[in-house]
Amino acid sequence: MAPLTPYTYIQCPCSDTSFSPSGAPTSDDKTEPEDDDRTFDPRAPRANYSLYPLEYLLYCEDCHQIRCPRCVNEEIVTYYCPSCLFEVPSSNLKTEGNRCTRSCFQCPICIGPLVVTSLEAPPEPTLLAADNTAQPTGPYVLTCSYCNWSSTEIGIQFDKPNGIYQQLAKMSNGGKPRLTAKEFRERSRKEKEGDPESPSSPLTNSDVDAELQFSQLKAFYQSQLNETNPQAAAGLGSLADLGISSPGSLSRIMSMYTGAGHGASHKQSRGRLPVMREARTLDEGFQEADLDDSALIEKLRASAFEDTASTDQRLAQQPSLPSHHPLLFVDDLRPIPYLLRTKRSKRCPVCRHIISKPESKISNPRFRIRLIAGSYIPTITVRPFHAPESHNVPSGLRPPVPAELWLAPHRASQYVLTFQNPIFEPVKVTLAAPAATPGRFASTVTVLCPQFDISANTDMWDDALKEEGEVQLQLQRRRAGEDGGPAQPEPGKIWERGRNWVSIVVEVVPASLRLDGLPPGPGGEEPDRSPLKEDEDVLEIPMFVRVEWEADTRDDVGSSTTTRDNKEAREKRELAYWCVLGLGRIARG
């Protein structure tokens, strides 16, 4: 097991409401301590869903609260194809589905991107220039440049190098054209009339694939509904384009349940029972189940393992495949049109203000609004106090591998926490950590300086300009240490201070992981001596952070007269949250 590098996770307050202390019996609420006194347990199963690194968190400026990816509301800004980066309007999405309908395909074998290439060799460069200008002519195929798959393997070639999606839709594997509903009707009509021009073979099951069958069934039952009950048919017809966001469909659903309009029509129809016939013929969408699998079995016998499609390959396929039997073989696979991706904006769940909004242009990766938590709450970094002095590593060389970070049980070790203030106001930070970490192996924790001020964030160049003063300060600290050996952290004092950061020292005494050394429970009962669970040896300290600062009050629009008075008025703000410091793994033994 590798030792951990120290980390800091922050708990999003959204999980507070559903928080229930684990381990303790929840039956009696009166014996429960007050909400504020409860220690957050990073080992509770729920904690997995509420702890985030600072970089994942957003911040709502209006609620003054941290927002995590789980609690924000997302809205889709644009849909686009990840391959051609073309934006797809949401109206197209409803009619054409969630895949790229241009010429972007993924390889059915290895999901690599496919390219359209001409089967004909490009003209020789040694030939005359006039001949060179000739464009390569078809037929065209889709090829994968990674695994060398080509659509010739499934017998598909294209006449044109563009509009591959539409061309592919008209072809089944093996190059046979697929019938559309219109063509099918045409052919079956000719057949009935005994048209001598009609194709020799009558239409069979194999001419009708799943997609065509669905459209035929839909058309048939639609016509049946129209005959029996025009009103209901209209209802069902509009159900087809039912959108959740459309208020019309909502009212229709409501009326269905309340039975206002629907009940009337029901009564009316009770008089003459509607007789609805089921689909009977092929052109009505009826297909006899083909129970004869002997051809499939024969093919399976004749083929090797490599000829069968893997589960991954089958799952990657488009769900509505024109195929009669279950997808088994590699030559049943079809090029996969790229799934569309989305760009989303995020809203605060409470005040509905937008807290993250990407640029709607696909090629532009910037954000119009992005309120990341890192620019509002202090960054907390942890490092061991007695870390080896980081040398000036020359670029091009790797930094040295850090020494083992195992924590020795029963031996006090110190960690430096550095708080960096991102806001342009001085802040006051108050820390609280339980004296012993929750869990079976309780390590003791002492925060040497639980209360301190951090000066405001200023222009980053101030550091450089003030460098000499800083150096003086640093020297002072070092010199102070030199008097009595190496500098020692003192309780109640901060360890180091910079322009907008403060370092303090936390002392921990890791518990032993020996199961026989476990203390008995509070009621004297036998402690849990089950073997060590996964990651139970990680020393995690829950810490409550409270940040206070003064900010200018937000002046409301239109109150220009009062702003002058308010100019002096400062608003006191505070933000409090739980965070978890992961220090490392405790050594066994």
């Binding site: 074998i109 290895c110 060799a121 020789e124 460069p125 090829t143 990674y146 695994c147 060398n148 798959w149 080509s150 010739t152 393997e153 490599e306 000036n392 020359p394 670029s395 091009g396």
Partner: protein
């Protein structure tokens, strides 16, 4: 301030480690072997007509002779005939129209690469492996020692295999010929210099 000068980034080409004896090279006059390629070993290294060896490619004939077929392209930082200190005997044979891409390693020990095969970037061919014709070893793939790969095999995606059914061998030959044509103009070489160095 003294530390700032030492941490200044230097970008110089690392020296070519030209250790080991110069191999007896038997290169065709139409082959293009870069001066900066490393040809070491005791057995013969034969490079047939119109093949191209990029700078910093390493051909080693310590345990056996190396034969490079016609119109092969051997990219930079490849290591053909690598022994890694093993006591292997036997050399390496590359067929015609073979491409060995950058950083690929082909171990010595009777290893054979069939014609028209492409060995991808940083791929590894174990010693004594027999790779058939028209194979594609995709980047970072590994062929185990002593393995026999049938013709037209594609090794991709952590060792999965399939058969190449494109049938574009003729087309690839033409592309390779043009590629060689261009490279011969781009790669400087001075056969006299190498001769002098060998002598």
């Amino acid at each position: 301030m003294s530390s700032s000068s030492s941490s200044k980034r230097r970008s110089i080409l690392p020296p070519v480690s030209n250790s080991g004896p110069q191999a007896p090279v038997n290169a065709s006059s139409s082959a293009k072997v870069s001066d900066n390629s490393i040809l070491t070993g005791t057995h013969s290294i034969t490079i047939q007509s119109e093949s191209v060896v990029h700078p910093r490619a390493r051909l080693e004939s310590t345990s056996g002779s190396v034969l490079v077929g016609r119109r092969c392209i051997i990219h930079e930082r490849t290591h053909i005939g690598s022994t890694d200190g093993d006591e292997t005997s036997g050399g390496v044979v590359l067929g015609d129209y073979v491409t060995v891409e950058a950083g690929a390693v082909i171990k010595a020990g009777g290893t054979e690469i069939g014609g028209d095969t492409v060995v991808g970037v940083k791929a590894r061919i174990g010693n004594g492996a027999k790779v058939g014709k028209n194979c594609t070893i995709t980047p970072l793939s590994v062929v185990k020692p002593g393995e026999t790969i049938p013709d037209f095999t594609v090794i991709y995606s952590n060792g999965r295999r399939r058969t190449d059914k494109r049938g574009v061998t003729e087309l690839q030959h033409r592309v390779q010929a043009r590629h060689v044509e261009v490279l011969k103009r781009l790669i400087p070489n001075n056969p006299a210099k190498r001769q002098a160095a060998a002598g």
